[in-house]
Amino acid sequence: MAFPWLSASILFPIGAALLIPFVPDKGDGKTVRWFALVVALLTFLLTVGGYLNEYNPADPGLQLDEHIDWLPDLGLAWSVGADGLSMPLILLTSFITALAALAAWPVSFKPKLFYFLLLAMDGGQIAVFAVQDMLLFFLAWELELIPVYLLLAIWGGKKRQYAATKFILYTAGSSLFILLAALAMAFFGSSSGMPISFEYSALMDKGFPIGFQLLCYAGLLIAFGVKLPIVPLHTWLPDAHGEATAPVHMLLAGILLKMGGYALLRFNCQILPDAHAQFAPLLVVLGVINIIYAALTSFAQRNLKRKIAYSSISHMGFVLIGIGSFSALGSSGAMLQMISHGLIGASLFFLVGATYDRTHTLQLDEMGGVGQKMRKMFALWTVCSLASLALPGMSGFVSELMVFVGFATDDAYTLPFRIVIDGLAAVGVILTPVYLLSMLREIFYGKENVELASHSELVDAEPREIYVIGALLVPIIGIGLYPRLMTDTYSAAMEALVARNESAMKALTSPAGGSLIRQTALRAPMIPG
């Protein structure tokens, strides 16, 4: 039997986390942080090892699969595997977590518990992307909530209790829908002799009737919409992000939000294609609302963390549009946007934390002119902000462009609908630099804020911080220069998914939105030879 790469990647950090109480540490975290960093790095190497040894990007199907029956009566099994939808996100997770461990270097309050939770989350999040069984997925999804909750509630800012509770109510509440949908789908047809199974592949083959699909789809959309988040289900996010410490922040923005996008692709698109054909225009419209609404709120925000938090919401809008498009290019763009935002969002939130350590304020009104004292910090901020506003040469540009082009050439929608959506999404192209550059302006430019400048903590970036940002910038710029580095790892799976969705869409007899949104008679694409 081949080495169980994925099970190892999930269980190793969790197992190592359980050993943390035995790590000899004086309580200041100086030993345990090395332990956590090494474990996180090894986990990263494990995922990379699985990718290099067993993963074939040209294969659209499931790979690295491991299957151990657990409760066979119930159809419950330990079933993990990776296809193009999971693999990039598994790599992203272990990569960001390793950097978060490095970002958590200064944590000195209850360090053992902190690193325990961090490593537990690592395994839990890899599990979310790797499991191939919907009940396991639900368990992993829930399991990962508890560390986040505790990380927020213990290490957060002033309003941490409020933020943590809001987070847990929102996510736990909405995840009931996942459970309901999972049970409904697993037990569907069991009276007529269909086997009970939570396995994705089995669910895909069940051929649910459209009414059933629509119901499940709507429930799952709410559950995943909270996570992504989709406006108006987003209000937990600014609070949670606003109170989290930098490393937790990196995980929230870098990985947690992607769980929503991944789950939408995995369940809503892959398992419920007929409902997706009906719901897709709604996703697109919600995506545009996300982009513009969150960009405007971000612009008006005076709190740095909340500003960046809203900018995350805005960027997730492109994921929704991409998922809602029936083109390989658009869906690929959505996937790339998730990865790209995972990297860029993590870098920005890390910088927010690093800046807060120095200024002890997040209010933009209390900053100003700190660029003179913190030149390297200024440079790092500028590069990451430019990445976030989709500057060419960095990953955000490619992913947004792919969504734009994919949607513009998407023959499933009528021309006016495409024009309006692309036009409104392009407004985001104007709004993003407006809020990001005015943010830079208020922090770094202009006359030095005398009170801030007298702080002794106002020192320039240290090598560890430069290293974290540098490590994030390598893939950001790498993908920006040559996107196929990333897209080639998942394009086969994505194309298979889109082909399935497209045939579902073509089979539609009465599409939602009718002739206003949908092209009824599909026109052959006219690409001159």
């Binding site: 829930e142 909530l145 509630a153 209000t235 390989a328 407006v434 320039d460």
Partner: protein, 668 residues
């Protein structure tokens, strides 16, 4: 051995490598690298120098009649879909390559003198190399998408360089304004590119041109939609080349260091819009409505720029509005369907305007010795005057620039501007009138700048005027100056600054002769077919009256300037400004466009954002909190939240789920 065109990709890559090396050095070994001024400058100048050598080799090949070279690779793909990238070298690209590298090289040498005392010297050179790389990449882009990529990158460099002195509020605001205004243009450009790709399935210039025409003639794309797409794409050039009404960023961008104003905001980047329109001729040519729009926008811009330049007292702002006006001429040429004429003006203008800006930098540098490092003082012509005696090289090159831009033969500006006026006369006589009158205004305001700066008595010691200027700018008296003691009068700049001025003076005088209408070598290179035809149809009878008229109006403009500012026979203050106060205020307030912009867009977007945030925190989040309160019953629930026991809630949820699963299991 490969031809130069085959390795043309090295031209942008060399400066990029230099920039990356110094950039990485700056971030990892800041202090050490900041001390390595000369080595960094030598490294980066050699990178750009090597690119220049290669560019000239490419140009030589094109002059010898080499065919265009195109190299492509698949950059991104998904489904049946691929986006190619690569590079394309043809005559147009070769001309731009040579132009950009030449001016970049001279500006870098000049900067060694200009930025000598700046603490950001190394950072400045890094940005310069980065900009050169992006601009050169733009020039050799084979398709619209790649143009868009570099288009944004030059915009970023402009942002970084305008905001170079980031402790100045003016610079910080200007940088942001420049970037955002350009993004507004890019918004249109992006939508246009998307639409054209939808209509034609390609990003390639020629395929797009023929594809769109086919799509219109076969009825797949309605005519109005095709026109709309062309105009959307045109929004990009409008912002980048500072065309009305998106020109507002360019004058503000003068807050950047003067070498930047010369390189980016006069000679190269702002010309990128004109260059793109030239590239898009296959697309625009079949649509007369589009061409007319381009021409009209160009004409409005040229009048606007020149009219505002009349009243500017800031030397650099005067030159900036002059650039706006000259870019209007180039766009007018494009709209008249004469890309060669527009490109020719782009080239001649690049040389003399770069020289003028570098000259103004030399003046400002010298003024700073007298009045201190305060741009409000160092750039205001009310404190200048009489500088010719102190800085003869700067004065004489500036004078050559003024003559060249005024359109006096045989200097460069005459030939290129006259060619534009000639085609405008044939296509749009009304717009020709605008261009013709503006030629007079141009001569007037340029000589006004020259006389106020270089002739008459030196006014730098006028403390009362300095205090008045500072008060008008809302600044207090400078606390103390950086160099302790002020000089009494300015000095000529060192060789690093003087040499580029002298070098640029040569093409400013001579380069026009490459484009004489009866034998245009420039035309032969870019469009041999049309150039031969034009040479055959050339007649002195047509040429002389038009040329004579434009020279006449230029001389009139110069005469008025001489009477008013050299001989003081004419008091324009009372004669014109006093008699038409409304007109004067209109011009002094820059047609009120900045005010409108501020009211409508800046304040408007702020207000809208504020309202959306209020909705978010009061309505959307309010509903959430209300629900939370209701479900938890009362204040009792809130207390429960605050005691920290809520983490058990998570465990309860999780435990409940497990129980549910087991329950279902036993039932199933």
């Amino acid at each position: 051995m490969p031809s130069a065109a085959e390795v043309a990709w090295l031209i942008p890559v060399l400066p990029l490598l230099g920039a990356v090396i110094t950039g990485l050095g700056l971030i990892s070994f800041n202090r050490t690298v900041n001390r390595l001024r000369k080595p960094v400058a030598v490294l980066l100048i050699s990178c750009v120098g090597a690119a220049a050598v290669l560019s000239y080799a490419v140009l030589a090949e094109q002059l010898a009649g080499a065919p265009p070279t195109e190299v492509l690779f698949t950059w991104a793909s998904a489904g049946n879909f691929s986006l190619p990238m690569g590079f394309r070298v043809d005559a147009l690209a070769a001309v731009m390559l040579a132009l950009v590298t030449t001016i970049a090289l001279l500006v870098m040498v000049y900067s060694d003198g200009y930025m000598a005392h700046d603490k950001g010297y190394v950072r400045f050179f890094t940005y310069l190399a980065l900009f050169s790389s992006s601009m050169l990449g733009l020039v050799i882009s084979p398709n619209l998408l790649e143009i868009y990529v570099f288009w944004e990158l030059v915009g970023m460099c402009s942002y970084l360089l305008v905001g170079f002195w980031y402790d100045r509020d003016g610079a910080a605001n200007a940088a942001q304004k420049a970037f955002v205004t350009n993004r507004v243009g890019d918004f249109g450009l992006l939508l246009g590119i998307l639409g054209l790709f939808w209509a034609t399935g390609s990003f390639d210039f020629e395929t797009i041109g023929s594809g769109l025409q086919n799509a219109v003639s076969s009825g797949v794309v309605p005519g109005w939609a095709a026109v709309a797409l062309c105009l959307f794409v045109f929004m990009g050039p409008m912002a980048k080349s500072a065309q009305f009404p998106l020109h507002v960023w360019l004058p503000d961008a003068m807050e950047g260091p003067t070498p930047i104003s010369a390189l980016i905001h006069a000679a190269t980047m702002v010309a990128a819009g004109v260059f793109l329109v030239a590239r898009l001729q296959p697309l625009y040519a079949p649509f007369p409505q589009v061409q007319a729009t381009v021409a009209v926008i160009g004409a409005i811009t040229l009048v606007l720029g020149a009219s505002i330049a009349l009243t500017q007292m800031d030397l650099k702002k005067g030159l900036a509005y002059s650039t706006v006006s000259q870019l209007g001429y180039m766009m007018l040429a494009m709209g008249c369907g004469a890309p060669v004429a527009g490109m020719f003006h782009l080239v001649t203008h690049a040389f003399f305007k770069a020289m003028l800006f570098l000259g103004s930098g030399s003046v400002i540098h010298a003024m700073e010795e007298v009045v201190g490092h305060e741009p409000v003082l160092a750039q205001d012509m009310r404190l200048m005057g009489g500088l010719r005696k102190h800085m003869p090289i700067t004065a004489s090159t500036f004078f050559i620039g003024c003559v060249a831009i005024s359109g006096i033969p045989p200097l460069a500006g005459f030939w290129s501007k006259d060619e534009i006026l000639g085609v405008a006369f044939g296509r749009f006589p009304l717009l020709w009138v605008a261009g013709f009158v503006t030629a007079g205004l141009t001569a007037f305001y340029m000589f006004r700048l020259y006389f106020l700066t270089f002739e008459g008595p030196f006014r730098g010691g006028d403390k009362a005027m300095a205090a008045q200027l500072l008060a008008a700018a809302g600044k207090g008296a400078p606390e103390h100056n950086d160099h302790g003691h002020h000089a009494d009068h300015p000095h000529e700049s060192g060789w690093q600054m003087a040499m580029p001025l002298v070098v640029l003076a040569v093409p400013s005088v001579l380069i026009g002769l490459l484009g004489v209408p009866w034998n245009s070598r420039f035309g032969l290179l870019l469009d041999p077919h049309e150039a031969i035809e034009a040479a055959q149809h050339f007649s002195w009878g047509e040429f002389l009256p038009l040329a004579g008229a434009s020279v006449g109006i230029s001389i009139t403009g110069i005469t008025v300037a001489v009477l008013a500012y050299a001989l003081h026979k004419l008091d324009l203050g009372t004669a014109v400004a006093g008699r038409f106060p409304a007109l004067n205020a209109f011009l002094a307030n820059k047609w009120y466009l900045d005010a409108i912009n501020d009211k409508l867009f800046v304040q408007g977007s702020r207000k809208l954002a504020k309202q959306v945030l209020d909705v978010d925190s009061k309505v959307v989040d309010g509903v959430v909190n209300l629900t939370g309160l209701l479900t938890l019953g009362s204040g009792e629930g809130l207390k429960y939240f605050n005691t920290g026991r809520a983490q058990f809630y998570a465990l309860i949820v999780f435990g409940g789920v497990i129980a549910l699963v087991v329950l279902f299991g036993s039932l199933g």
